[in-house]
């Protein structure tokens, strides 16, 4: 099998171009959500730590920092779950179709 030809054939497949664009948007979108949330958290700590030190309610000892911190941990887990779900399902299915066709 001539790899170079297969590569060209795959590249010419409009489904491949669509997959690359779709997956790229999805992955970068999620990565930006993650980076933005984390650096927002870090910058709040650096510039205005009192914001996270404020109590949740009057008389409460628990501060906003607790849900913010735990929220980031859950967000990390949830976003990886969302990505794996779509990549292992939809994206892999399209990839398999493209590969099958190209290797005929």
């Amino acid at each position: 099998m001539n790899n170079e030809n297969v590569y060209r054939q795959i590249n010419a497949d409009p489904r491949f171009q669509e997959l690359v664009a779709k997956r790229g948007r999805f992955a970068w979108g999620l990565a930006i959500i993650m980076l933005a949330s984390y650096f927002a958290f870090i910058l709040v700590i650096a510039f205005d730590p009192q914001l996270l030190g404020a109590p949740l309610g009057a008389g409460s000892v628990t501060t906003w920092g607790i849900p913010a911190g735990l929220g980031l941990i859950f967000l990390s887990f949830a976003l990886t779950g969302v990505y794996v779900q779509r990549a292992n399902g939809e994206f892999d299915r399209i990839t398999q179709e493209i590969l099958k066709e190209a290797q005929k």
């Binding site: 170079e4 990565a31 650096a46 628990t62 920092g65 607790i66 941990i73 794996v84 990549a87």
Partner: protein
């Protein structure tokens, strides 16, 4: 105001630069036979696994990547295991114990790199690589120079990480088992060599998985017992801790861990992208069969690591309630017996008695073994696969010869690790894990990332940019307060920030970009042309090395 400054200064002095390195003074404790007994059981069991794995190790692929036979779930546990080192378990719970919320900030930094690795790197790595991340970095670039540079980057990271772990192991064993530092360091070195030399990646992975399960179960039990004590009510846990802790309300808000924006961003970058450049972590992506399993591993790893950090947070607060108030765990001067790094261990004794104390101590030691074994394997593969097989033998090395070199390198690494462990016993090693992360973030990661994402990267750019990142990270670490003041005892640091990653990453990316776009050589054009097949393969997995069947 002065009081606040003093508290902040005390906190900075007390909190390790990277909680992944066990620092501070320790005192040798009485010999703990329960702990030693349980540890011996662990050794016998894992040696059995090593023997089983040794029989299956017939090729380099088995040896470096367990033949791609690890499932996503198992690999997720192993990756989590690499992150849940003894020092991070004891160090982060100690940080929560001394300064509360700062411990959570710190642990979040270690976690958030994982989703980004998944979205941007995991599947491309799996599709392009074979044994080491240098395979990916040198995929379309000049084999010899890129492999030499990335092997060098790997070895620096491995060396500093290993020293931190060895010194930590020695100190921990003095504390937990009451054995001598020297005995401990030699024992860790010898066991590490045995796991890696005979059992390869298969044994190393299984040792890591078993330890991860043990550590997660032990920590879960402790957290549940803490919550049981406060009637499973978080607000009661927090309010009782605030009432007891000398810093009171301050433990519920950010303290002095990150004080200025530059340090904050720099630390964040080092933690986030350093993870994506650690050779012993990247290697784990090649132990699974395909991109699907690689993605699943990150999903499970993120879950386990996040869960573990929530547990250590509860454990730290639990220690404020149950250890701080208990005279049994304090010496005559009122300080914690064995130092604050011991609070999780004391808590184990408080909630589970002597038997559970022995269990947690044994697990803590097992943790060190599992982590150093992974490091040794990454170091050995950098030497044997990248330097020997691909550079010296130009890819024409016989498989038996490559295996021989790997085993010899492992042995040599064991000896070096023991010697360095002894040499650094009384040194301040707080900066070492930080340095490892900074080098990983500013040399390994940028080359790897751009080689996959940017068509115009050339060998010259990668070489100069990577070297610029490496040199900047090393130089700024030496000039920073953690080395210049704390280790070399100069009055004033030349570089004011503790973490160099921000500057080193900028230097690296600038070098990569500038020296690539100005590269007009013929070789550079060929390298750019090779981006196309690399791109197709990275997207589809066509031609990727799969689960190898013999």
């Amino acid at each position: 105001m002065l009081a606040r400054l003093l508290t902040a200064a005390a906190l900075l002095a007390a909190s390790p630069a990277f909680a992944d390195a066990l620092t501070g003074d320790v005192q040798k404790q009485a010999t703990n036979w329960t702990a030693i007994g349980m540890f011996v059981v662990f050794i016998i069991f894992t040696m059995g696994i090593t023997k089983w794995a040794a029989k299956r190790n017939t090729s380099t692929s088995d040896y470096y990547t367990a033949g791609g036979s690890i499932t996503g779930f198992q690999n997720g546990l192993a990756i989590a295991g690499d992150f849940m080192s003894a020092a991070s378990f004891l160090g982060i719970s100690a940080l929560v114990f001394t300064s509360g919320y700062d411990g959570l900030i710190y642990s979040i930094g270690f976690l958030v790199g994982w989703p980004v690795i998944l979205f941007l790197m995991a599947e491309r790595l799996r599709n392009l690589g074979k044994f080491t991340f240098s395979d990916v970095a040198s995929y379309r670039l000049g084999q010899t120079p890129i492999r030499v540079l990335s092997a060098f980057g790997s070895l620096i990271v491995v060396a500093f990480y290993l020293i931190a772990q060895m010194v930590g192991a020695g100190k921990l064993i003095q504390l937990l088992f009451g054995l001598d530092y020297l005995v401990a360091v030699v024992m860790v070195g010898v066991l590490m060599v045995m796991y890696v030399m005979f059992g390869g990646m298969l044994a190393t992975t299984w040792v890591q998985i078993i330890k991860a399960v043990l550590l997660l179960s032990g920590a879960t039990f402790m957290a549940v017992m803490v919550m049981y004590n406060v009637g499973f009510d978080f607000s009661r846990l927090f309010s009782e801790a605030v009432a007891l802790h000398p810093k009171h309300e301050a433990i519920m808000s950010p303290g002095g861990l990150v004080s200025d924006p530059i340090s904050a961003i720099s630390l964040g970058l080092a933690l986030m992208f350093g993870t994506a450049g650690l050779p012993h972590i990247l290697m784990r992506f090649f132990t699974v069969g395909d991109a699907k399993e690689a993605r699943k591993s990150v999903f499970y790893a993120t879950g386990f690591i996040g869960y573990f950090y929530i547990l250590t947070f509860i454990i730290g607060f639990g220690a404020i309630l149950l250890v701080m108030t208990n005279p049994e765990f304090k010496d005559a001067s009122g300080a914690i017996v064995g130092g604050t790094n011991m609070v999780a261990i004391h808590l184990a004794s408080a909630v589970g008695g002597n038997l559970f104390l022995g269990f947690i101590s044994a697990v803590a030691f097992a943790t060190i073994l599992a982590v150093v074994a992974g490091l040794a394997l990454a170091g050995a593969s950098a030497v044997a696969h990248d330097l020997y097989a691909c550079v010296i033998k130009q890819g024409k090395a016989k498989e038996e010869d490559e295996m021989k070199v790997t085993k010899r390198t492992t042995l040599a690494l064991g000896v070096v690790a023991i010697l360095l462990g002894i040499a650094f016993e009384n040194q301040n090693i707080a900066f070492m894990v930080g340095l490892a992360f900074s080098v990983a973030a500013s040399c390994n990661f940028p080359i790897l990332f751009l080689s996959m994402y940017w068509k115009n990267l050339t060998t010259r750019g990668a070489l100069i940019g990577g070297a610029m990142g490496l040199v900047t990270a090393l130089a700024l670490t030496i000039l920073s307060p953690t080395v210049w003041v704390d280790v070399l005892h100069f009055e004033q640091a030349i570089f004011p920030y503790k973490y160099p990653a921000l500057f080193a990453m900028l230097a690296s990316f600038f070098g990569l970009w500038f020296f690539s776009i100005t590269d007009k050589s013929k070789a550079a054009d060929e390298e750019r042309a090779r981006f196309f097949p690399q791109f197709i393969r990275s997207q589809t997995g066509l031609g990727a090395s799969g689960a190898v069947a013999h």
